[in-house]
Symmetry: C2
Subunit: 191 residues, 2 copies
DNA sequence: AATCATTTTTTAAACAGCCATTCAAGTTTT
DNA sequence: AAAACTTGAATGGCTGTTTAAAAAATGATT
């Protein structure tokens, strides 16, 4: 039990430091030394735990994707109408623990880097496919077949767009407010 | 007359090469040498014409922003109802000359880098404000006041989201198709 | 047309700096 | 004692930028 403790603690610390440091300095520019300083560790220890810079980035992305997945599953279970389940997907993306400027910033930087890394683009593809199929499943129960795809694109692109905007905000964003706006958009799309 | 020719030719060549090279390799990773090779020139000549790597990037962004501005003004003049003008803004963003994978890719990378560069973030802010005010002006004529802001966000975020998606596509995108989808979304939002 | 001084354009090579990664030598924990 | 953890320092490679010198274009003068 104790054997695994330190390893887990360092993993979390370094991933949190990565989120902060990447947000502050930019994905392509941030250095191992900066991330290490943010975590109060040394650059060498990052390689000890993650093997390489890319390994750290992948682990950080996995961490965020897991948070998203968890939030989604949680909200999905509580909802019991198609419309509520649609909103649950939105709520997950705009949940308190996920929808913050540093995390949206990181997400956007990952989007930018994904096309150039096999490992990152795989994660990206999987996540996008999951969101997509959730949307489709609910929309099919609510709209005529020929409107489903338009509605899905509108909702999914809206979600991405909001994150993109949040990533560039220089003031903190308000998750509750974003959720309310998202519900308005859902209602708008459902007519 | 002939005096200015070479300078202008090189500017265009290098900017085109930048779009291609950044799309292929990524904004944060692409090197001066790679861009130069793409243009059939030397890295030193880039500095001769643009002063620095950042100068080249700024010039490239300005080039794209100008294309967008031109396309927008053009379509705006031809439209003569609020709804058509809304579509004109969309059409500009999805016009044949602008809506391509490499250019969307560049745009996304630009979004990611903007927060870390005074010069780039200024360009970004100006462009976003222009789109925003165009949307608001038309929506005010079409919707009750309390729905205008929701509708604007839905449309603007949708636009950004579609670009984001295009940037990650590994097959060419279809501008005409994107415009049609955008019109559907406009109609959806207008009810 | 031909010459030649001047300006503009081009690049190879040198420069200076930075960074991810490795490694050996320590420290701490089990 | 063994295993796990930590890091300072060395390594090797790569990058943007500068420089100096050559090549090409230009324009004035003959």
């Amino acid at each position: 039990m104790g054997r695994k403790r330190i390893r887990d603690i360092r993993h979390e610390e370094l991933i949190e430091a990565t989120i902060t440091a990447v947000h502050q300095r930019g994905y392509g520019v941030v250095t191992m030394a900066e991330i290490a300083r943010e975590a109060g560790a040394s650059a060498a220890s990052i390689n000890y735990y993650f093997g390489s810079k890319e390994g750290l980035m992948e682990a950080t992305m996995r961490h965020l994707l897991n948070k998203l997945k968890t939030a989604m599953i949680e909200g999905y279970g509580a909802a019991n109408s198609p419309r509520d389940r649609l909103c649950a997907v939105m709520n997950a993306n705009f949940s308190d623990g996920l929808y913050s400027v540093p995390q949206c910033s990181l997400w956007m930087q990952f989007w930018g880097s994904a096309p150039y890394s096999k490992r990152l683009s795989r994660l990206h593809r999987i996540n996008r496919a999951r969101v997509r199929s959730h949307f489709l499943a609910e929309l099919r129960a609510l709209l005529p077949a020929d409107q489903v795809e338009t509605a899905r694109q509108a909702l999914q692109c809206y979600m991405d767009g909001v994150w993109l905007q949040a990533a560039q905000s220089d003031v903190p964003v308000d998750p509750a407010c974003a959720r309310r706006a998202a519900h308005d958009v859902v209602d708008l799309v459902l007519g």
